[in-house]
Symmetry: D2
Subunit: 336 residues, 4 copies
């Protein structure tokens, strides 16, 4: 079968490889749709550790084609979304309900072969059934959505709260929708590209600001009469971190979600954090949220098609992942 | 009567002034014991805003000597501790249960006359009855203790958790005791002065480290097998902030309590915060905790005498507040 | 001026009385709209204690007509909604952030003169400004809404959760909307009157069941695939309590909101509560939620006109309050 | 080897059986100490479902004697405590962090062979290492302690809070100690046997009342000045449930822990629950708490020897389990 293999840092190629086999407790999934994620680019460049050589692709859904020994929850034929993050279940973090902090975390599409392929073998515990008639493109959003739901859990938005979101990539545009679903009052997206600001307004944002052309801190503080109750950082750059902290109202919450490169230092003002009692709550990965994400995708409450800007085949993945995102690009979908 | 007046920045003097009168809804309190706080020194130097001229002293207890019109909860003769922070009750913060973030906060001993005096008039709602036979020195600890209890609420220590505390002033030494009361397993105090480390070990700390003489981050991570579940910063300096963040275990909580000067920037590592999911929770002042502090002081579970290093009269307050704390000094008690 | 006075149990009459005066710290409010509440009927019948003789009416809004001494937050002319529940601010409950459990709670329209009158005097801290152009009928919903928001806080609905609501009065129909705003997936209203079920479906309920005509426990368990994540009891009768508990899924939450008469015993099954870990969380009154309710009403996200079934003058209040609600009645609005 | 087998309801016998073998992913544990639990008596009488025939014993610790295929976390020789409750990891409850509500829960000593035997085979994920030099009797307390820690998590005791505990069996006496470790102020145990009340006072209770000889509701309300902040029901009988609810203060929490027989109805007063806002929070089994229990046992902060009233061999287990507990009995320890 065909698979897109990361063979060394900077070398990603479509290859013909052996079709995998479902081992004990595993499912063989025929991938129908996979999503390209910013992390794939980081892995390509060696900025994120992988188990080279490996097939990339950690956001995907597909049809159960075969089941391994001892598999009882599946019979074959189901449409499934797969949680790529495999926690060990026995380390200190896992036994204290923090699987996202697992000391031996492995991941499909990172440390074992993933979904940029015709088939992938996955442990059955990682798979979640979707309605058979669901558009599999929607199913492929379960993984990033599960991470966002974890962030929303930490944000503790109350009906009527103001929410500012920095960064209008696929994550920011999912957060806009989740903030709306959580009953937020003002929902403000800050991102540079105009097309994304327009999309955000269609998806439920009440305001969208351009950080290049205006003083977004002042604008947010004005719209929210003193600062946002919740700020969600989804860009992972020093500017949005520093500005985002200044957008929070007294007593507000700053959710740290964007991945700033390791080692980058960002200055904060402890006095301001203290006297304003602004909590900083990081949200990392998807602990206990993949099944909720799958259910939410299945329910149809999210507008996902608007986030898909391109659809490609396996043969184009290396090109897309090997280059910076094009202007306007939000989510690139792969159909093997 | 005599009162210690801040007359201009850098000018603190004991004066003879009119004895105050209990206005409507107020109590006239004869101060039996007041405590000197680091904030008094900041006010003296103009680093913290005050309503000059004003009598300082915001940690105190005393006897109700007279009651104003409409006072119903007191008859006179009660030993009371006074919460100095007066919230307006009507601003957005106050009406959402965040009185410590009140937009019009005033404070006894800061913006109106305080307890470094023979008498002080206070609104009845700020006063809390203590047992008549309680040592009033203990009563005077209610105010800093109330702030610490708020921090402990935010720390959410679970029985058995490891707790690292940075800064061994009166605050750090109260936190050590509160951590013990909350069932913490390892309780580690980091402070430079040896006498304080020894006091901490007597008060319940299981370990005490000198930041000057050792790699305290490594020591904390070793003692706690990977980092403290809870870190409480009680020094307010850049070093303890940066080091404290590195002492937290994955999934841990960093409570920001020390007051770093306004405008000071401290670099943090967002990547580390994110992948370790370390929450930063500031705790500011004493929202809804003064009555609990009074009850805890009254119950006798805290060792407070060990924190008193000197007792002075009103005539010595200017000298003490006008100079840096002496080595070994923890809490200076004033008996008017 | 005219006021509707409860003069003894069972005796409610419109009278000509002195126009009240704004005392120190008080506002004189010209009532533009007041709402009739089920509690008014309980007061009329003596089932709920009042300070007879008293003007009833605890849900109202109006225009500030005059201000008393020391009032600083109002100048006159503002449209305000009034929180009728006055907490003492100094009892154990109040000093621990539980004003709804205040040991000396008093209430406008219950223990002091209320809003079924042309004018009412209220402490300024109870008043919250609304936009000048808001329909005052909407403003009059702030009080019941504030109670519902407290219940929703306790319900901790997560996006996608299923919610079952028992009782389709004004409270149940507000809860339907709040559940929708909190991102609930399935929202099921159980009530007997068909017109209310239809209204609920228009307001955001996904299902509406008649407890008379069907096995609602089974229906809820089917729709929610095993039970609702959150059940909110808004009828206050034994049946809805017992059935509601059986509608909760394992790990779910049952919010107790309806007021069952004092002394009525309802049997529960502790074994079932335990092995299913169903939390029972009562929500009583409106602690720290009136300002949020005012903001939500002002934002226009709620459909409130659909809840108004009749508008009357002061002269009809006694008749309406003195009789059981008519079929179809939801909220009766009074325009003095 | 010898094992105590439940062969049919009411028939428990020590038998000579095959020594088990560690299957893939399993450990073979040589049982050094097991504890008899009240549930064992319920299983014997058929009041709790089991997979007859089966070896009972779900509280135990022992030495790893052999490891099965794919076991990596153990090498043999470790002292381990075993969490008997095996969650499936894939059902709705498990994937939402509620393994104690697992839809396919199985348990060692209940649905597969347990620890009343010389050897037992257990999945490695259920085993937690204890210090080699720990008294294994203490290790055998990990299981009931883990359940109690879950209850304490739900109780949310704050330093200084009053706690009332009903039922002075092994559970109640562990709760007394956990309440002390959580910084509770008054700790009141209510139980009938005098010897247990005395033990409780030695273990940290501040008061111990006899429900037979006094009005315990009045006593608790007096000691706590209005009701306990937290009430923990550990007897599982109608009386303690009804009385316990009346011991909670306004705004307090009632933790439901005792197992009342299935089908038993207990009347509650919804009006009182509502206007007092008393939360009812059931705590069932040990989700994510076994490792914390093991750490706590290892730390030595608990007094466990005082809870052991008898030590027997395997040959006496049937006799002990087949009969009601003797007066004074707290925990019977089995040494195979
Ligand atoms: N915590 C987790 O578990 C988790 C999971 C998944 C992803 N992430 C992280 O979440 C972040 C967002 O992911 P994504 O897939 O949406 O990536 P993305 O497309 O790279 O989105 C980030 C967007 O932020 C905007 N941005 C950049 N600089 C900005 C600035 N100075 N001010 C305002 N906006 C700025 C850019 O949009 P414009 O060009 O429009 O400005 C950019 O596209 C990434 O850092 C990703 O690594 C975290
Ligand atoms: N958040 C609030 O509501 C609140 C309320 C009250 C007080 N505070 C703040 O809490 C902090 C502590 O108050 P305090 O009264 O205890 O004051 P303090 O006596 O000034 O205590 C701070 C102590 O920290 C230690 N320290 C200084 N530099 C250190 C370093 N690099 N590493 C380790 N320890 C260091 C010093 O002790 P050694 O000489 O032994 O190192 C110093 O005495 C202050 O910043 C105060 O403003 C906050
Ligand atoms: N906790 C608080 O702070 C608070 C505040 C305000 C109000 N409340 C209470 O909340 C409850 C609702 O208030 P409301 O103003 O909406 O009163 P309401 O109009 O009396 O609403 C209750 C509705 O429940 C329905 N109901 C009665 N028996 C039922 C049954 N067996 N099954 C299903 N539905 C049944 C009735 O509607 P159908 O005729 O359609 O069945 C009834 O109209 C009342 O108990 C009120 O006292 C509590
Ligand atoms: N939720 C969970 O996950 C979980 C886990 C383990 C155990 N449990 C349950 O927790 C409860 C306690 O367990 P245990 O092992 O300690 O059992 P236990 O020895 O049966 O303890 C219960 C004790 O309650 C006391 N009691 C009985 N009636 C009483 C009354 N009317 N008033 C006051 N005290 C009364 C008895 O002591 P006196 O003779 O001294 O009165 C009795 O020994 C049991 O119901 C058990 O099933 C629950
Ligand atoms: Zn792990
Ligand atoms: Zn205020
Ligand atoms: Zn009160
Ligand atoms: Zn399960």
């Amino acid at each position: 079968m065909r698979a897109v293999r990361l063979e060394s840092i900077g070398s990603l190629t479509m290859r013909s490889v052996e079709k995998p086999v479902a081992g004990p407790g595993e499912l063989l999934v025929r991938v129908t749709v996979a999503g390209v994620c910013g992390s794939d680019r980081h892995m390509y460049k060696g900025e994120y550790p992988t188990a080279i050589p490996v097939t990339l692709g950690h956001e995907f859904c597909g049809i159960v084609e075969a089941i391994g020994d001892t598999v009882t929850r599946f019979t074959g034929g189901e449409l499934v979304t797969v949680d790529p993050n495999i926690a060990c279940g026995t380390c200190r973090a896992c036994t204290q309900a923090r699987p996202n902090l697992c000391e031996s975390l492995t991941a499909i599409g990172v440390t074992r072969d993933g979904g940029f392929a015709e088939y992938v073998a996955v442990p059955q515990a990682q798979a979640f059934v979707l309605p058979a008639d669901l558009d599999p493109v929607h199913g492929a959003f379960s993984e990033p959505l599960a991470c966002c739901i974890h962030a929303i859990d930490k944000a503790k938005i109350r009906p009527g709260d103001s929410v500012a979101i920095l960064g209008g990539g696929v994550i920011g545009l999912l957060m806009v929708q989740l903030a709306r679903l959580a009953g937020a009052g003002e929902i403000i997206l800050i991102t540079r590209q105009q097309s994304r600001r327009q999309t955000a307004l269609r998806l439920g944002a009440t305001h969208a600001f351009d950080p290049a052309g205006s003083d977004t801190i002042a604008s947010v503080r004005e719209v929210t009469k003193g600062g946002a109750a919740v700020v969600i950082e989804c860009a992972g750059v020093s500017d949005t971190l520093q500005n985002g902290l200044k957008m929070a109202r007294r007593g507000g919450t700053f959710v740290l979600f964007g991945v700033t490169p390791a080692g980058v230092e960002v200055p904060v003002l402890p006095f301001d954090l203290l006297v304003n009692e602004v909590d900083i709550r990081p949200a990392y990965l998807n602990p206990f949220t993949h099944s909720r994400a799958a259910a939410m995708v299945a329910s149809g409450v999210l507008e996902l098609d608007a986030l898909v800007t391109k659809t490609i085949g396996l043969e184009e993945v290396a090109e897309v992942v090997g280059n910076a995102p094009l202007p306007g690009e939000i989510k690139v979908i792969v159909r093997p």
